[in-house]
Each structure stands twice: as structure tokens, then as C-alpha cells.
Symmetry: C2
Subunit: 349 residues, 2 copies
């Protein structure tokens, strides 16, 4: 594998001459690709902020703009499908930026030979998700590729939303002493997908948590404009979100294992598969970084919302752990939560 | 092939039980999919308007929002590559709606094993196209699929733009007597791509016309706010754009063959391949529907712009041809320009 350089600067992803599944993992390899290739190439502050959504000045207001492609397999899984996931996921990227979602686009890359009845099920599911969330899908595109050059259906949804005046969420704003809140149990989506993957199928009643979080985030921000930032916990799970936060805010993170909400079945399946739930993707959960003085009030608001019923305070921005994420175990010891590099769960979303 | 119904309404695409390459053609099959599935499922006026971009009210202004996925092969072709095409194409969808492009998103679906050096070339080309057009790429996404489940690189770009106050372009607004203008020679992009396709390679110096049209459209609209509508002439070429117009405006169209600008080599290659240039995709050409009283002025403005140097008046909205597109040949006879159904040129963009 030869070295790749961007301009005169050797870049971290030069360790690999080719794209691996790990480059789509939400972990270190993807971060290398973003910081080594995309950010320098497109060179602008909005992109370089590495938020889940771009925030743009617009006629005296602020607008959020985001994009995500969905390549999840299988297309249908317990608790959802690629269609509703594509709607909810993009709504969530807007929501955690403090934006009210206004409109979505949908672009389909279809593989020749796809059953139209199956496409229809997916489109109906997207339409239902839009209608449930009160968001309109206003523009679209369809491309078809030859058999064997795609995988049934890939969907891109992009979205725009309105950012409330005064909202200044930023992953660079965490302060020592802040509390780390999550909106509910971790790992449900990833375990639900794995339970129906070929070669892995195991019995569980776990469903994906795929859900639109915009009313939850709205309630949280209305109650507490002091929230520092929010992130939905998709690829790479809680761990990736915290590592991005730690780097952007130049802080450390301490988690308390006993406080992390987990469904019994997710705990059991994770142990069976040798996975740590902090790395597993969620599609209807967020973390919020909140000044300690406000954290109890925010938890209260979260718990009074159906999508935040299991919200919990799981840790703190630590004074003593520069840019590291550590986990205090239930019995008291402390271990470092490393950032995933490769890809434990390809095509989880 | 079984019938597919949407709700209680039998839909035209039920003729096919499976997706074919033709469903991505910009022709009749794609129109069936859009009008039979997407529009009824998502049921909103903005989508149903079938413009190249959605137009949304925003804080007292209007915003344009559009999306396109690019699956062109080969990735590099005379006059461009998938990266610059993805930037220019989305800029053009905004521009023909009368919008000034403000920001783009980019979402990559990469196939495992893709050379990173190749991705880097594509990304650099995108960055150059953005910089040339003065548009920022502000948010992105990367997914990786297993080897054999994609085809090197697919790129989605979505875009937002600002619509000038008072601008009310609509494909439903054409009136009998209006003139049909095109901004230059037709078919260059499609012929350039075909000239380097495996199994088809032939010698030509034709280059893709891939280019951003936003300064051309701005100049045209500044001169003539009375322009009824504009369309870029991508998949399905001039023919598809005119058929969409004819249906939306409930009018007929008469073209004059001798007035359609064609490069000699495109004419020769089209004859050799048995293709009619009116069906071939362009990536830097537009048509404009203009009231006759203003058409000479608009042509003048187009010709004084580098991307409109070969602009021409090629036909009229006809009183006598309800929803049909007819072509008057150089020797005087008239033939119907049918809408393409299947796919003469798969993966042209």
C-alpha cells in the first residue's frame, strides 16, 4: 500500500491505499478521511466545524442543511426499514443542531431487477415517516444501475431546517464539569439489525429504536437554551460521538458504566457477540452535553417525552482526562474507551 | 409480471414488475415511476409541481432545494469527471429555477477496494468546480459498501439556493407563440461519454459540456424577468424537457431541425450510433421558454455569455399540436418526436 499525500502534507489515511469497510465506520478511519481529504479539499469553516449539519446565515435567520446516504442491509429489519430510517436519520441530524426540520429530499439509486412492489413498500414507509414527523419530502431523484453494480436500493436524504434564534450548539463548547445525558437505552438499532443478518441470526425481541427526535430536542432546548451540544448516536455509537466531542472541545470524558441504560437483551446479545454497547449504532437516541446546574431539569424534560423515557445522566466532562474517554466500571476500576478504527458493523444505516 | 397498484389506483408502471435501466432514463418509464409512485405517496404540492428544484417560502424570501445522485461511468471522461459533474449538475438544477446557488452537500457511496488516490482526484475536481462556481460545499457523508455491491463511487449532491424576489418560473406557464431557446449545441455530453465506453470507443474530439449555468441564467433573468421557464437538458435531452413542458403547460411544441445547433462531430457520431441528438443528455445546456416579444433580447444576452455563445431559437409553442412535440425537417416535412421510453444511454450522469 503506497503512501497518499494531499498537497505536500502526508495524511493519516495514507496508511491505506484503498477504501475499506472501516472507512464507513464512524470511527478513526472515517475521521482520517474527513480530516485528511474532505475538509482540506473543500476548505471552508462550515464543513470544518464537523457538526452533523451545516449552519448557514439566511435572510436574518439561520438554516441547517444536512445529508446522509442509507445503505443498510437488510432493507427491512425489526422496528423499521431503510425508508423510515432515511427519513428519521436526516431529521435527527437537523434536530441535534437545534433545527426544526422543514423539508427533505430523497434520491434513490436502484439496482436493475429490483421488485417494484418492494420499492413501493419502502416509499410508503418513507411517506409515513414524513407524515408522522410533519415534514415534507419536496424534491427527488432516481437513478438505476446495472444488476450487480448496486445492492437493491440506496437512499440519500438531505434536509433543511430552521434554527431557532439564539441557538448556538457546538461540539467545541463542552466545559469540565458538564454532565453527559443520553435519551435512552443504547445499542437497540445495531442489535436489531445484527439479529436478522445472514449468518448471524439469533433470537431476540429487540427492535430498532429508529425514531425522529425533533420534538424531544425542541422540548429540551425550550427548557434549557444552555445545552452545549447534542449528537445523535449513529455509526460508532456513543463512543464516536464522545471522541469527536473530546477532540473538538479539547476535554476528557468520564462515563459511569452502571448508569448507562441498556435493555437486558441488548446486554445479553452484546456479550454473546463480543460487542461493547458504547460502540453500537442507535437511530433514535441522542446525547446532550449540559452544564451541571441545568442537568436535572433537562433529564426531567427528557423523561417526560416518550422518546426520552429512559434518559439518564451517564457521565461528566472530566478535568483530568485530556481528550480521553474513560469508563468507570461498576466495581470501581477505570478503563479507556478507545475509538473504533475498523468496522465492527458494516452497513448498519 | 404482476400488476402493482398504489392504493386502489392501478398505476402505469405496473407494466413492469421490476426496475429496468429504463426507469432511470428520464423518459416515460421514469415519469411513470414519479407520477405513479413518488408523487401520490409523498402527496404535496411542491413535489407534485415536478420542477427540477423545490421552491420553499423562507423568512420572507424563497429558497430552492434540489438533489441528484451521480452514477456516471466511466468516472473520468473527455471534458469532466463524476466530481465536477456532481457539482455542476446540482448548480444547474438550482439555476434553471432562477436561484443563486448558495451551498451544496456531498454524500459518497464508496465501494470497498476503491483506490484512495482515485477518490482524491474526484474530490479535488469537486472542490475546483465549487471554487470556480463560487459555491461552498458545507456538509457531507460517506458510506462504504462491500466489493461487488456498488460501482467504485456514487455521489449525491444536494443544493440550496436563493430565489430572487418576483421570480416565478414554472413549466406550467408556456403559452402558444412563445419561443424555445437553447443555450448551445446539443448532445456533446452524451457523445463524449459514449466515445469512451467499453465496447463503443470511437475517435472524436468531442468533450462533455459539463459547466455551471448560474451566471448565464442570472444574466438572462436580469434582462428578461418575463422568461416563462428554464430547464437544463440532462437525461432524455431536449426531448424529455419538452415533453414535460408540454404536459405541464398543456401545449404543443414545434421544433425546426435546421435551427438546432449541433457540432459536426456530434451529428456524425449520432448518425453512426443511430441516436437522435434531441434525446442525448447535455450537462451545460439549457432551454428557455420566452414570450416572442422578448426572445431576441434574451438570445442576445445568451450569446454574449461564454456558455451561451451558440444559443439559438429552435422552435415555438404551437397552437396546433396539443401536448405533442413535432419536428419540421430541413426539407419541410414534419414528424412527431416521441418521448423515449426505455434507456438508450444508461448511466450518462
Amino acid at each position: 500500500m503506497s503512501d497518499t499525500t494531499l498537497g505536500s502534507c502526508p495524511i493519516p489515511f495514507s496508511r491505506y491505499g484503498h477504501i475499506t469497510l472501516g472507512h464507513g465506520s464512524g470511527g478513526e478511519l472515517m475521521a482520517d478521511l474527513i480530516s485528511g481529504l474532505f475538509v482540506p479539499a473543500f476548505a471552508n469553516e462550515t464543513l470544518a466545524a464537523l457538526e452533523d449539519q451545516a449552519s448557514l446565515a439566511w435572510n436574518g435567520s439561520r438554516l441547517a442543511f444536512t445529508t446522509d446516504s442509507y445503505v443498510v442491509r437488510p432493507l427491512f429489519f425489526p422496528g423499521g426499514d431503510i425508508g423510515s430510517l432515511a427519513v428519521n436519520g436526516t431529521i435527527n441530524d437537523l434536530s441535534v443542531g437545534g433545527a426544526t426540520p422543514i423539508a427533505l429530499s430523497a434520491a434513490f439509486i436502484l439496482e436493475e431487477g429490483l421488485e417494484i412492489a418492494l420499492l413501493e413498500r419502502i416509499v410508503r414507509s418513507m411517506a409515513r415517516a414524513c407524515s408522522d414527523a410533519g415534514v415534507e419530502l419536496v424534491t427527488g431523484d432516481t437513478k438505476v444501475v446495472e444488476r450487480g453494480k448496486g445492492d437493491q436500493v440506496f437512499i440519500n436524504t438531505s434536509g433543511i431546517g430552521r434554527i431557532a434564534p439564539g441557538s448556538v450548539l457546538s461540539i467545541a463548547s463542552a466545559q469540565p464539569g458538564d454532565r453527559i445525558l443520553v435519551s435512552g437505552t443504547l445499542g437497540d438499532h445495531g442489535i436489531a439489525i445484527l439479529s436478522v443478518r445472514e449468518g448471524l441470526a439469533f433470537e431476540t425481541t429487540i427492535k430498532s429504536d429508529s425514531a425522529p427526535l425533533h420534538t424531544l430536542t425542541r422540548a429540551m432546548l425550550d427548557t434549557c437554551p444552555q445545552i452545549r451540544c447534542m449528537r445523535d448516536l449513529t455509526r460508532g455509537g456513543l463512543s464516536s460521538a464522545l471522541h469527536e466531542l473530546a477532540a473538538a472541545s479539547d476535554v476528557g470524558v468520564r462515563l459511569f458504566e452502571r448508569d448507562i441504560p441498556l435493555k437486558t437483551e441488548v446486554r445479553a446479545a452484546s456479550e454473546m457477540l463480543g460487542l461493547d454497547p458504547v460502540y453500537i449504532a442507535n437511530e433514535g437516541k441522542l446525547m446532550a452535553i449540559v452544564p451541571e446546574a441545568h442537568s436535572k431539569r433537562v433529564i426531567g424534560v427528557m423523561r417526560s417525552h416518550p422518546l426520552g423515557a429512559d434518559a439518564a445522566d451517564i457521565g461528566e466532562i472530566a478535568k483530568d482526562q485530556r481528550r480521553r474517554v474513560v469508563m468507570q466500571s461498576s466495581v470501581g476500576g477505570e478503563r479507556v474507551v478507545t475509538r473504533i478504527s475498523g468496522e465492527p458493523l458494516p452497513r448498519i444505516c
